[in-house]
């Protein structure tokens, strides 16, 4: 049964890789694999397999399914199956690539939530990011979509660097890479590791200040959004923080920091969601905001409530995105103004979307009403409480805005295509989950839930529940009275201008520095090398003249002298006997004179 631990993520990953290469019967294979994965996930949640092995000498890695992982793997597998069923009806281009990438994406998330060490976690974490890049840019002929994918990948990877630092800190402080050992860390390594984990998680979960990439992620096909926004990718950040909540608490500063980051995101991105004119953008901003409650839960900490929020939100958000996707493919628009009457046109989508939107609004007795309160019940800081409550009210506002728009009567009839069976099939079960997961809040069930997760947390109190339910109801009624027409403030519609800000503050200076360094490299460093070469040539010229030619001149002069002497010496050599006789006579005479004189 230990084999189940690696098999659970390996099956979708291997099948996905095969689909990328072979590209045959992709939807059928993907559905089969996703169904088997659901069975495996449930089985794993029951038998709790665990596996450890040595990844580098002296460093253990492993896969295990504990309470939190059990909840996660089942959630991921079920949502992935629902989304893939919808996709089988909607995606008819490059099916091998689409379903292959989706399966690897799912497998990477399954590995993320079962990894017990930083190596495997980081591996799955980044592969998931790469798959989201490929899926966001799925329709790659459109440069804008490709750019969105690039931006999403680079932004989330900026956060991922934190995990590399965390791994280094764990090696330095605990001589191990296992997640379980992180709680034993001491300062300063505890702080380094925690900072790294928090950066990575906030990046992945699109919390402030990283939120803008999630707006860009909308460039992908609707099923991608449905999966990326619910049980995978963004959920991974929240999962990591919930998993390491004890580490956050140990630092003293990370808990409040994370709690405030989550609450601030829930509030500000909630306001952003209210201001959107585009249904998918509204839902994207609401994802950031809802994840804010999970991040808040990890900081407080309220692990049981945060996990319940994660599961319920996964069902709600995948349902809403599939509904939006159904309208996008049939009506050809995702603009709120053009979606009026969409729900009446497609009643099944309209009703299920409506259930999802009411759950998102936090209306009793639906799921998010309870789970959000399970988080808020653990917040002690009064200011934080007020901010979170306000964020909850905003959730009611943006959900009601989406709901009322699609249910308002249409001004005119637009051309519309029928909706296929596969696209309708996953909606009712998801709606059922979105409506009913609130039962986790029943005191008896909540205790069992907390025991399952091994994290005791306060049960949402009846008074608070009533109060927040009434607040949500009031806001929803107000928005419906206003017919959803409000709140378009430029800064908010433009996602707080975070992307232009990041581009201006980081990307532009970086590329400017790169260009400057490239010029420096060409002119200064290579210039110095060229100068050395030129100097060598110049030295060679100087060596030739005056030195070489001077030396050469001396040699030539000497040679010339010798030559001239030779010519002189040749003169007497005439070959004629009488000359030689005369020379001999002269020589004898000279010799005689010399002898006489010397004596």
């Amino acid at each position: 049964m230990t084999l189940l631990a690696p098999l659970l993520p390996a099956l979708p990953v291997v099948a996905g890789g095969a689909l990328l290469l072979v590209r045959r019967a992709a939807p059928a294979v993907a559905l089969l694999v996703a169904a088997v994965t659901v069975v495996q996930a449930v089985l794993a949640a029951v038998v709790r397999p665990a596996l450890t092995f040595e990844v580098f000498t002296g460093y253990q890695a492993g896969l295990a399914v504990d309470g939190l992982s059990a909840v996660m793997v089942v959630t991921v597998a079920v949502i992935a199956l629902a989304v893939l069923v919808f996709a089988a009806g909607e995606i008819h281009e490059s099916e091998g690539r689409f379903f292959g990438l989706m399966l690897i994406f799912t497998g990477a998330m399954l590995l993320t939530v079962t990894a017990t060490d930083l190596v495997l976690l980081l591996m799955a974490w980044e592969v998931m990011g790469a798959m989201s890049y490929a899926l966001i840019g799925f329709r790659w002929r459109d440069p804008g979509r490709v750019r969105s994918g690039t931006l999403a990948f680079v932004t989330t990877r900026a956060g991922d660097l934190g995990l590399y630092l965390a791994a280094g800190g764990a090696v330095a402080g605990a001589h191990t890479l296992t997640l379980a050992s992180l709680t034993t860390l001491n300062a300063p390594w505890l702080h380094l590791v925690t900072a790294g984990l928090v950066a990575a998680a906030l990046g992945k979960s699109a919390q402030l200040p990283f939120s803008f990439w999630l707006s860009r992620a909308m460039a992908g096909p609707s099923p991608v959004s449905a999966l990326l926004h619910s049980a995978t990718m963004v959920a991974a950040g929240a999962y990591l923080l919930l998993r390491t909540a004890p580490v956050l608490a140990a630092t003293g500063w990370a808990g409040p920091l994370v709690a405030w980051a989550g609450a601030a995101t829930a509030l500000l991105l909630g306001a952003v969601a209210v201001a959107q004119r585009d249904l998918k953008q509204l839902l994207a901003a609401s994802t950031c905001a809802q994840l804010g409650f999970m991040v808040l839960a990890a900081g407080v900490p309220a692990v049981a409530g945060g996990t319940a929020q994660l599961v319920a939100h996964a069902a709600v958000k995948s349902l809403l995105f599939l509904g939006a996707g159904a309208w996008l493919s049939t009506l050809g628009t995702q603009r709120l103004a053009e979606l009026r009457g969409a729900a009446r046109r497609y009643p099944l989508v309209g009703v299920t979307f409506g259930i999802g939107a009411l759950a998102l609004a936090g209306l009793p007795p639906l799921s998010l009403w309870v789970t959000k309160d399970a988080v808020l019940a653990a917040v002690d800081d009064p200011v934080l409480s007020v901010v979170s409550l306000a964020a909850g009210a905003l959730a009611a506002a943006y959900a009601a805005k989406a709901l009322i728009t699609v249910w308002l009567p249409a001004p005119e009839q637009r051309d519309a295509a029928p909706l296929g069976l596969l696209e309708r099939l996953p909606l009712p079960p998801l709606a059922l989950l979105a409506a009913s997961l609130g039962i986790l809040g029943l005191p008896a069930l909540f205790d069992a839930w907390a025991r399952l997760l091994g994290a005791p947390g306060p049960v949402p109190e009846a008074g608070e529940l009533a109060w927040s339910g009434l607040l949500a109801l009031a806001v929803v009624l107000l928005v419906i009275r206003a017919r959803g027409a409000f709140g378009e403030i430029g800064v908010l519609t433009g996602w707080l201008r975070l992307e232009p800000l990041a581009v201006a503050a980081i990307w532009r200076p970086l590329t400017a520095a790169a260009r400057a360094l490239a010029r420096f490299d060409d002119h200064v460093i290579d210039g110095a090398v060229r100068t050395v070469a030129r100097a060598a040539k110049a030295a060679a010229r100087i060596a030739r003249s005056p030195f070489e030619s001077g030396v050469d001149g001396l040699v030539r002069a000497a040679a010339g002298g010798v030559g001239r002497l030779g010519a002189l010496a040749r003169k007497p050599q005439t070959g004629q006997v009488h000359t030689y006789l005369a020379q001999a006579t002269v020589a004898a005479a000279v010799l005689a004179i010399v002898i006489v004189l010397v004596r």
Binding site: F56, T57, G58, Y59, V119, L122, M123, A124, W125, E126, V127, A130, Y133, G137, W140, R141, D142, P143, V146, R147, G149, T150, F153, V154, R157, A158, L161, Y164, L165, A167, G168, G169, A170, V171, A172, G173, H175, L177, W189, L192, L510, T511, A513, A514, R515, L517, A518, D521, I525, D526, A528, V529, A533
Partner: protein, 488 residues
Amino acid sequence: MLSLTVFLPLLAAALLAVPRLPARWVWVSAATADLALVVIMWLGYGGGTDSIGYEERLRWIPSVGAGYHVGVDGLSLPLIALTAVLFLACAIYSLTQEERPKSYAALFLFLQTVSTGLFAALDLLLFFVFFDLSIVGMYFVIVGWGHGDRARSALTFFLYTFLGSLALLLGFIGLYLGGEPRTFDIVDLTAAPPRAGALVLLAVGVGLAVKTPIVPFHTWLPPAHTDAPAAGSAILAGILLKMGTYGFARIAMPLLPGPWRQYAWVIVAVGVVSVLYGALVALAQQNVKRLIAYTSVNHMGYIVLALGAAGLAAGDEPARRLAVTGAVTQMVSHGLVTGALFLLTGLLWDRAHSYDLRRFGGIAATARTFTLMTVVAAFASLGLPGLSGFIAEFQIFAGVIGTGLPGAVVAGGLSVAGILITAALFLRVLQRAFLGAPGELRVSEARAYEVGSIAPLLALSLVIGIAPRWLLDLIEPFSAALVTWVSR
């Protein structure tokens, strides 16, 4: 066995003198046979040991204590295997090379002998001979089969790296003079490190730094790559650059442990500068070959950083071993991935005679397999998990930071930013040239022999990325030994 592996390619090159022999197939067969020999050696050597395998020791120049001494261990065997794999890939890639195929094949076979010999050499003079011959061989590859301003680039390459090798020779003489007894034998000198100071390390270091190359000695690299033929670039980046980093781990660290420890922080700093500088300059390039050349500077920087951190005597020892293992893994990974990337750029030149990113666009529409291979290679190079680069870089980062010294944490923290910049620049390449709207130049699909040469390199990278133990089992004993040597 080892000598046969070293000299088999040279024998095959001699065989090419026989007229009417199909040069390209002789080349492919010789490279295949050599790879088979390496696989047998790998299986025979096994792992989990730091002893020298397949050792051969013959008299060569006994008067100065230099011998023909070769052998393999956990550092050299992975690199010898990499050499065999990459040269085979280049042989397959060059199956349609029309221009003077016989001398082309002979030159590459000569280079293969030289490269394998260098990684097997356990004698400084033998190492030096191979080191210099590699420069000669690559000079002729660039000048004979390159394009663009090839004569100038080749000359720059030759003079610059030759000058570096002279510094190296000076350092080797310094090691010889400091040895007791005087010898050029690396094993003997490792056992009893010569009494040599910082100047010797400087000479050896500069010599190897030029070859690696490390900032600021890197400017010969971009022009050499740009004007070299694709297979030449692949060998230059994949194998010849490793001679520099290999030299650090084989010679500089074990033979000069004292100076290495003393100047470890300088080496760490140089590594960090190379990482960030290489990545940033690469980000600004429009010529795809220059861009990849600068990412090589970045990737070699990680190796220097890790080897520098291994010399931080005050650091945690298991972490330093991790860093060394990462560095050796990076050598193998970079060889596979950058080799593949350069072969891929060869397709661009072959189809469109341009490396200018701005003139391409939407290549994926006409060349699906080519795009798929480029995407995998790009992600491998930017260190995506599941591919070999991650296994290397993760160990380097975890090892460097894991030493637990504040300076090393800063160095590791700074160089982690390198993987973000490389991610941005590779995704920019994909965005500009391969995806989006069609560009000015058209690129047709990869042919069978191109896929057959490049895809196996990427598959190996994938295997190392997913199941690295078979490689790490070989490297880790060496890492432990190296950390012990440098700590003496």
